[in-house]
C-alpha cells in the first residue's frame, strides 16, 4: 500500500472534500426517518399543520442539499479515479519499459502485462468504491444506532446487535460465492479450450473421422460446465432472499419489542414515542444495506490485496533507462573477445569463451541449431545483457565506453520474431529512423521483396497493420522487419533467422538486393540453414555456446564435423 498512496497525493484536497461531502449526503439518509418521526409525534396528534410543514420543508431542503453534495462528490470521484488510474498506468508502463532484460524477465511478459492493465484498473475501480464503503457504511451504522438509541436504548442495542449477526450470516455465503464463480469460470474456460482445440484441428479430426468423438467430449464438458454454473448461480440466488428475510424478521422483532416497551408508562414518560419506533424500524433497512455493501467489499479485499502487491512489486523494481545517444557511427569492425555469459539464475553458461573478429564490410554468418546460443550472442551484441567476462567492441570502441544507446545506434538488427506494431506499414518501417522519406521506405520495402504486397493494397504504405501484425503472415512480418533494419543508418546489420520463413527463390532475390544496399557495411547473418550461410565471407559455427569452427564454407567442410553434419542433413548428398 505504501507505494500506492503517493499516487493519491496530488488528489489529497479532492479526497478530503469528497469525504466531507460524502458524510453530508449520507447523513441525510439517517435524518429523514428521524424527521418523519417528528411529524408523526409532534404534528399529527395535535393537528399542528405548521409543524408538519416545517419538518416536511426540512426534509425537502435536506434531500436537495444531499443531492447537491452527492453530485459534487460524483464529479470529484470521477476526476480522482480517472486521474489516479491514468497516473498509475503511465508510471507502471514507463517503469516496465525502462527495466533491464534481467529485471524484466523476473516478472515476465505475461506478468507485467497483467500488472500494467488488469491490476491497475482493478485498483482504481476499487479506490472509488472504497471511499464510499469506508465513509458511508460507518455513518449509516453509527447514525442509525444513535437515532435508535435516542428513541429507545433497548431498540438501539437490538439494532446494533443485528449488525454483526447479519454480517456473520452474509459474509460466509458471499465469500463462498467468490470461490464458486472462479470454479465455474474454470469449467467455462475448459469448454472453450476444447472447442478451440477442435476448431484448430478440424482437418486432422475429419481425416480420422473423429468428429463424433470430439463432439462427445465437448457435450460432456458442456454438461459439466452447466453443473458448476448452476451451483454458482444457485448460491448467488440465495443471497438476496436471505438478506430480505433477515431484514424482515428483524423488523418484526423490533416491532414486538417496541410494543412491549411502549406499554411501560415510565418509558412513555421519558419520551418513547410511536413515531420513534416506526423510524427505528426504518433504520433496519438502512443498516442492512450497509452490511451488504461491507460483505461484498470484504470478499473483494483479498483480490485487491493481490493486485496491490503485484503492482507494488513492479514499482519496487529498479529500472535502468537508457540515456539517449547522439547517433555517431563508429565503423563496422566487430570484435568479441573472450566473452562468456550465463543468464541470471542459471548456472550453465549460455556462451563460453567466444572470440569473433569481423572486419568492416564483411558478411559473416553464425550458424547453429536451436538452443546453440546464436540468439544469446545477438542479445549481448545489442547490449541487452553485459557479458560476464570478456568484452565486445564496435569500430574499436568498447561497449562500456560508448553506452547502450550508442551501441544500438550502431547495430541495426532484424530480430527472430519479426515484430510488427499496430499502426501503418510506413510507421512500422521507419520507426527506427523517423527522418526517412516515403521514397526511402519504398526503396527498402522493395529490397525486402514487399513491393508486391504494398501494390496489392489500395492504402499502399498506409496499410494498417493490426496488433502484432495479426493481419499479415509470418513471412511478411519478417520482411517488414528486414526493411526496418536496413532503413536505419548503422555500422553493423544483423539478421537473426530473418529468412527462415522465406522460400529459396524469394530469399535469393532478397539477399541479392540486400548486398547491393549494404555495400561496405558489416552484415551478420544468424541462421540454421546451410544454404543461407554458405555464401558468406566467413562462417562461425556455434554449438552449445561455443564456437566450434570458423572459416569459409570449403574450409569448414574439411575442418568442422558439426558443420558437415548440418550441410549433409539439409542439402543431402549434393552439397
Amino acid at each position: 500500500m505504501k507505494k500506492i498512496f503517493p499516487f493519491l497525493k496530488p488528489y489529497r484536497k479532492d479526497l478530503i472534500l469528497m469525504a466531507v461531502l460524502c458524510v453530508i449526503s449520507t447523513l441525510e439518509g439517517v435524518f429523514l426517518p428521524y424527521l418523519m418521526s417528528r411529524i408523526v409525534d409532534e404534528g399529527i396528534p395535535t393537528g399542528n399543520m405548521p409543524v408538519i410543514l416545517k419538518y416536511g420543508g426540512m426534509m425537502l431542503a435536506l434531500a436537495v442539499c444531499s443531492m447537491l453534495c452527492a453530485l459534487l462528490n460524483s464529479a470529484l470521484n470521477a476526476r480522482v479515479s480517472a486521474g489516479f488510474s491514468h497516473d498509475l498506468t503511465r508510471s507502471i508502463f514507463k517503469k516496465a519499459t525502462g527495466l533491464s532484460f534481467e529485471t524484466f524477465s523476473k516478472i515476465g511478459t505475461a506478468g507485467l502485462l497483467t500488472r500494467s492493465t488488469h491490476d491497475v484498473s482493478t485498483i482504481s475501480e476499487a479506490s472509488s468504491m472504497f471511499v464510499n464503503v469506508v465513509i458511508v457504511v460507518p455513518i449509516l451504522m453509527i447514525g442509525g444506532a444513535v437515532f435508535a438509541m435516542m428513541s429507545d436504548p433497548v431498540l438501539g442495542v437490538v439494532l446494533l446487535a443485528a449488525i454483526p449477526l447479519t454480517f456473520l450470516i452474509l459474509f460466509p455465503i458471499v465469500k463462498n460465492l467468490d470461490k464458486l464463480w472462479k470454479l465455474s469460470d474454470e469449467y467455462i474456460d475448459e469448454q472453450n479450450r476444447l472447442m478451440r482445440e477442435r476448431l484448430s484441428g478440424i482437418r486432422v479430426i475429419r481425416a480420422f473421422d473423429k468428429e463424433a468423438h470430439e463432439h462427445k467430449r465437448i457435450a460432456f464438458a458442456t454438461e459439466e460446465m452447466a453443473k458448476y454454473i448452476i451451483r454458482a448461480n444457485v448460491h448467488a440466488g440465495y443471497v438476496n432472499p436471505l438478506c430480505m428475510l433477515v431484514l424482515n424478521l428483524a423488523t418484526v422483532g423490533m416491532l414486538l419489542i417496541g410494543a412491549q416497551r411502549i406499554q411501560d408508562p415510565e418509558l412513555l414518560a421519558k419520551g418513547l414515542t410511536a413515531g420513534g419506533i416506526i423510524a427505528t424500524v426504518q433504520y433496519i433497512a438502512l443498516i442492512l444495506n450497509g452490511v451488504m455493501m461491507l460483505s461484498w467489499t470484504f470478499v473483494f479485499l483479498p483480490h485487491l490485496k493481490v493486485c496491490v502487491n503485484r503492482v507494488t512489486e513492479v514499482l519496487d523494481l529498479r529500472d535502468d533507462p537508457v540515456e539517449p545517444g547522439d547517433g555517431t557511427l563508429y565503423g563496422g569492425d566487430v570484435s568479441i573477445k573472450g566473452v562468456s555469459f550465463s543468464y541470471p539464475d542459471s548456472e550453465i553458461n549460455a556462451l563460453s569463451d567466444i572470440d569473433i573478429e569481423i572486419k568492416a564490410g564483411e558478411t559473416a554468418a553464425l550458424i547453429g541449431g536451436t538452443g546453440s546460443g546464436k540468439s544469446t550472442l545477438l542479445k549481448l551484441l545489442l547490449a541487452f545483457y553485459p557479458p560476464n567476462t570478456g568484452s565486445i567492441s564496435i569500430g574499436g570502441r568498447p561497449y562500456e565506453q560508448i553506452g547502450r544507446a550508442a551501441v544500438r545506434d550502431n547495430v541495426s538488427a532484424a530480430l527472430q520474431k519479426g515484430m510488427v506494431f499496430e499502426g501503418s506499414l510506413l510507421d512500422n518501417v521507419r520507426m527506427g529512423y523517423p527522418k526517412a522519406s516515403e521514397d526511402d521506405v519504398k526503396t527498402v520495402l522493395d529490397i525486402a521483396q514487399m513491393t508486391e504486397f504494398v501494390d496489392s493494397h489500395e492504402e499502399g504504405l498506409n496499410y494498417h497493420l493490426s496488433q502484432s501484425g495479426a493481419n499479415i503472415s509470418g513471412g511478411q512480418k519478417q520482411r517488414i522487419s528486414i526493411a526496418r533494419t536496413i532503413l536505419k543508418p548503422a555500422s553493423v546489420y544483423v539478421f537473426d533467422d530473418s529468412f527462415s520463413a522465406l522460400d529459396y527463390l524469394t530469399e535469393s532475390k532478397l539477399r541479392k538486393a540486400l548486398n547491393r544496399r549494404l555495400t561496405g557495411k558489416t552484415q551478420i547473418i544468424i541462421t540454421q540453414r546451410a544454404a543461407t550461410a554458405m555464401r558468406c565471407d566467413r562462417i562461425f559455427v556455434i554449438e552449445q555456446g561455443r564456437i566450434v569452427g570458423s572459416g569459409t564454407h570449403e574450409e569448414l567442410l574439411k575442418s568442422c564435423t558439426v558443420y558437415r553434419e548440418i550441410v549433409h542433413s539439409q542439402l543431402g548428398g549434393e552439397a
Binding site: 404534528g43 508502463f93 502485462l113 472453450n192 440466488g237 436471505l242 410494543a259 520507426m431 539477399r511
Partner: protein, 593 residues
C-alpha cells in the same frame, strides 16, 4: 435490425423454450405466490403501526389506554409468516429456474451448436475466426439464458407486482398514490437517459482501453525490438497519449454514471417526503381516513415500487442485446450443412488417384485451378512445390474433400470421390501436417487417435518406427504423459514425430505429408526426414516440399504459384522445360555459390 426479423427471432427463442415451458409455468406460479405474500406485508405493518400509534396517542395524555397484545402478536406472527413464505417461494423459483434454464435450455443449445460443427464445411471454419464461434457458444448463449431467466422475474412477476402495488395504493389513498406513481418512475426515466449518455463515453473508454492493452502487449512482447531501436520513449509517449484520452473519457463517463444514483435517490426521497407531508396533513386533519399506518404502508409500497420498474427497464434494454445474440446463434445453427453421398462405398485402398479436368477456386471471381489432370498410380510419390503462400495446400484440401471441386472429377481407385461419404474417402488417407495438432490428452491416446482399437504393442511399435519411443520412455509418465497447453518438455520436433507415429498406426494406403522442418534442430530434422521416407515406402504419397533435395526422385512434381498449378512433370522434365521450377531449383543453389 428490423422489427420483423426481431419478432421472428423472439418467436424462435420462445419455440426453443418449449421443452422447459412446463417448468417455466410452475416457476411463474410460484413467483406469483411470492409476489402476493410480499404485497400483503405492508397491509399488516399498517395495522401494527396503527395499533402502536393509537395506544401511544391515548397513553401520552395520561388517559387509560389498552393495548391488545394478543392481536398484535398474532398479526406479528402473520407478518413473519408472510415474509418467510415470500422468501421461501422466491428461493424455490430461483432453484427451478437455474436448474431448468441451465440444464435444459442453454446447455442444450450449446450441444446443438457443437453438433452443428460436425456438419459444417471446413470452408466455414476456415473463414470464421475460432474466437467468434466460441463466443457464440459461450457469451451469446449465456445471454439467451439470462434473458429467459429474467423473463419470468421481470416480465411476469414484475408486471404483476407493479400492477398489484398500483391497485393497492390507489385503493388506500389516491392522492398519496399519485405521489408514488409520479415521482418514482421519474427517477428511472432520468437515470435511463443519463445512463444512455454515459454509455457513449464508456464505449470510448473501452475502445481506448483495448488500444492501451494492445500497445502494452506489443511493447512487452516486442521489448527486444523496442530496445534495439531505442524506441522506449516513443512507446511511452504513445501510451501516455492513450492514457490521457482514456482518462478524459472515463472522467465524463464516470461522472454521468455516478450522478444517476443521487438523482434516483432524490426523486425517491421526494416521493417519501410527499408521503410524509401529505400523509401527515391528512392524518392531522382526519381526511380520507388516512392513519399513521397508511403512511408506513405507503413508504413501504414506494420502496417496493422501484424494484420491478428497474428490472423491467433493464429487461427491455437487454432485449436488444439478446436479439442480437440470438441472431448470431441462429445464424450459425442455420448455416448450410455438408451433404453426404452414399452411392459408393470406401475405395479399395490400392492407392490410385486421378484428377480429371478439375476446376476449383476459393473465390468465384478468382479462378485458381482450371482443368487439372493428374494421374497417380499406386505407390507413386507426388511432390507439390512452390513459394510460401502459393497455395500448395489447396491440393490437399481437394484430395481430402475439405473443399469440393467446382468442376471435373477426382477418382480414388477408380471410384468417384463425390459419390461416397467423406469418411469413407478419408479412411484411405493419413496426414502429417506442418501444423502439428495434438489434442490435450495422453501421448498414448494421441498416437492411437486414428485407431482407438489398436493394441498397446501396436502403439509402441508405431512409436518405435517413428523414432520417438525412446523419448516417450524418458518422460516421467511415459506413454501416459498428458499433453496440454502447459506442456513445455515436448519440443516441436518431437510433436511432429508423434504425429508421424499416429500416421504409422493408422496404416492407410495414401499419405499426405507436409514437410515440417523449420525451427527444428539438425538432428531432429534428419530423424523426421528419415521416418517420413520410411513411412512412404509402399504407399502412394503426396508431399508438400520445402527443400527440393527431398523430392527430386518424385514420380510427379506439381509446381504451384499464386494458387495455380503452373507446371507438372518429373524433375528431369521440368528442368528441361526451364520454367518456374528450374528457377526455384537454381535459386536454392544460387545461394550456395
Amino acid at each position: 435490425m428490423n422489427k420483423k426479423s426481431s419478432k421472428a427471432t423472439i418467436l424462435r427463442i420462445l419455440k426453443d423454450t418449449k421443452p422447459i415451458a412446463g417448468w417455466l409455468a410452475v416457476s411463474a406460479l410460484i413467483s406469483l405466490i411470492s409476489v402476493a405474500l410480499a404485497l400483503a406485508t405492508p397491509e399488516i405493518l399498517k395495522s401494527l403501526s396503527d395499533r402502536l400509534y393509537a395506544y401511544w396517542d391515548t397513553a401520552r395524555t395520561g388517559a387509560k389506554a389498552v393495548f391488545d397484545n394478543a392481536a398484535f402478536r398474532k398479526e406479528s406472527v402473520w407478518l413473519a409468516a408472510a415474509y418467510a413464505g415470500s422468501s421461501l417461494a422466491s428461493v424455490f423459483e430461483m432453484l427451478i429456474m437455474n436448474n431448468v434454464v441451465s440444464k435444459h435450455f442453454t446447455c442444450a443449445i450449446r450441444i446443438r451448436m457443437s453438433d452443428k460443427v460436425r456438419r459444417l464445411p471446413v470452408r466455414y471454419i476456415d473463414h470464421t475466426p475460432n474466437g467468434e464461434i466460441i463466443s457464440h457458444m459461450t457469451d451469446d448463449v449465456s445471454m439467451l439464458g439470462t434473458t429467459v431467466h429474467n423473463f419470468i422475474d421481470t416480465m411476469i412477476s414484475g408486471f404483476i407486482k407493479l400492477l398489484g402495488i398500483i391497485v393497492l395504493i390507489f385503493l388506500l389513498n389516491p392522492i398519496l398514490a399519485a405521489a408514488v406513481v409520479v415521482f418514482v418512475p421519474l427517477s428511472l426515466f432520468l437515470s435511463a437517459k443519463i445512463a444512455g449518455k454515459s454509455e457513449k463515453y464508456y464505449v470510448e473508454v473501452r475502445k481506448r482501453n483495448g488500444q492501451l492493452y494492445a500497445l502494452t502487449e506489443e511493447t512487452f512482447t516486442g521489448l527486444d525490438t523496442v530496445k534495439a531501436y531505442n524506441l522506449e520513449s516513443r512507446q511511452c509517449e504513445r501510451q501516455a497519449e492513450l492514457c490521457g484520452q482514456m482518462r478524459d473519457a472515463a472522467r465524463k463517463g464516470n461522472f454521468l454514471a455516478a450522478i444517476v444514483q443521487p438523482i434516483v435517490a432524490l426523486s425517491n426521497n421526494i416521493a417519501y417526503i410527499a408521503i410524509c407531508i401529505l400523509g401527515g396533513l391528512f392524518v392531522a386533519n382526519n381526511l380520507f381516513g388516512v392513519s399513521v399506518g397508511t403512511i408506513v404502508a405507503f413508504i413501504l409500497y414506494a420502496r417496493m415500487f422501484a424494484g420491478p420498474l428497474e428490472s423491467i427497464a433493464q429487461g427491455f434494454s437487454m432485449l436488444q442485446h439478446t436479439i442480437a445474440s440470438a441472431e448470431r446463434v441462429y445464424r450459425m445453427l442455420d448455416e448450410e450443412e455438408m451433404t453426404e453421398a452414399t452411392e459408393e462405398s470406401a475405395p479399395k485402398g490400392e492407392g490410385n488417384v486421378d484428377f480429371e479436368n478439375v476446376d476449383f477456386s476459393y473465390d468465384p471471381k478468382q479462378p485458381l485451378i482450371e482443368g487439372l489432370n493428374v494421374h497417380v498410380r499406386a505407390g507413386e510419390k507426388v511432390a507439390i512445390v512452390g513459394p510460401t503462400g502459393g497455395g500448395k495446400t489447396t491440393i490437399v484440401n481437394l484430395l481430402m474433400r475439405f473443399y469440393d471441386v467446382d468442376g471435373g472429377h477426382i477418382y480414388v481407385d477408380g471410384k468417384d470421390v463425390y459419390r461416397m461419404p467423406r469418411a469413407a474417402l478419408r479412411s484411405v488417407f493419413s496426414m502429417v501436417l506442418q501444423d502439428t495438432w495434438l489434442f490435450s490428452g495422453t501421448i498414448y491416446d494421441n498416437i492411437a487417435y486414428g485407431r482407438p482399437d489398436a493394441t498397446e504393442e501396436e502403439v509402441i511399435e508405431a512409436a518405435k518406427r517413428a523414432h520417438v519411443d525412446r523419448f516417450i520412455r524418458s518422460l516421467p509418465d511415459g506413454y501416459q504423459t498428458v499433453i496440454n497447453e502447459e506442456t513445455t518438455n515436448i519440443s516441436g520436433g518431437q510433436k511432429q514425430l508423434l504425429t508421424i507415429a499416429r500416421a504409422y498406426l493408422a496404416n492407410r494406403p495414401i499419405l499426405i505429408l507436409d514437410e515440417a522442418t523449420s525451427n527444428v534442430d539438425t538432428r531432429t530434422e534428419i530423424l523426421i526426414q528419415r521416418t517420413m521416407d520410411d513411412l512412404m515406402k509402399g504407399r502412394t504419397s503426396f508431399v508438400i516440399a520445402h527443400r527440393l533435395s527431398t523430392i527430386v526422385d518424385a514420380d510427379t512434381i506439381l509446381v504451384v504459384n499464386h494458387g495455380h498449378i503452373v507446371e507438372q512433370g518429373t524433375h528431369k522434365e521440368l528442368l528441361e522445360q526451364n520454367g518456374f521450377y528450374a528457377e526455384i531449383y537454381r535459386s536454392q543453389y544460387e545461394l550456395l555459390n
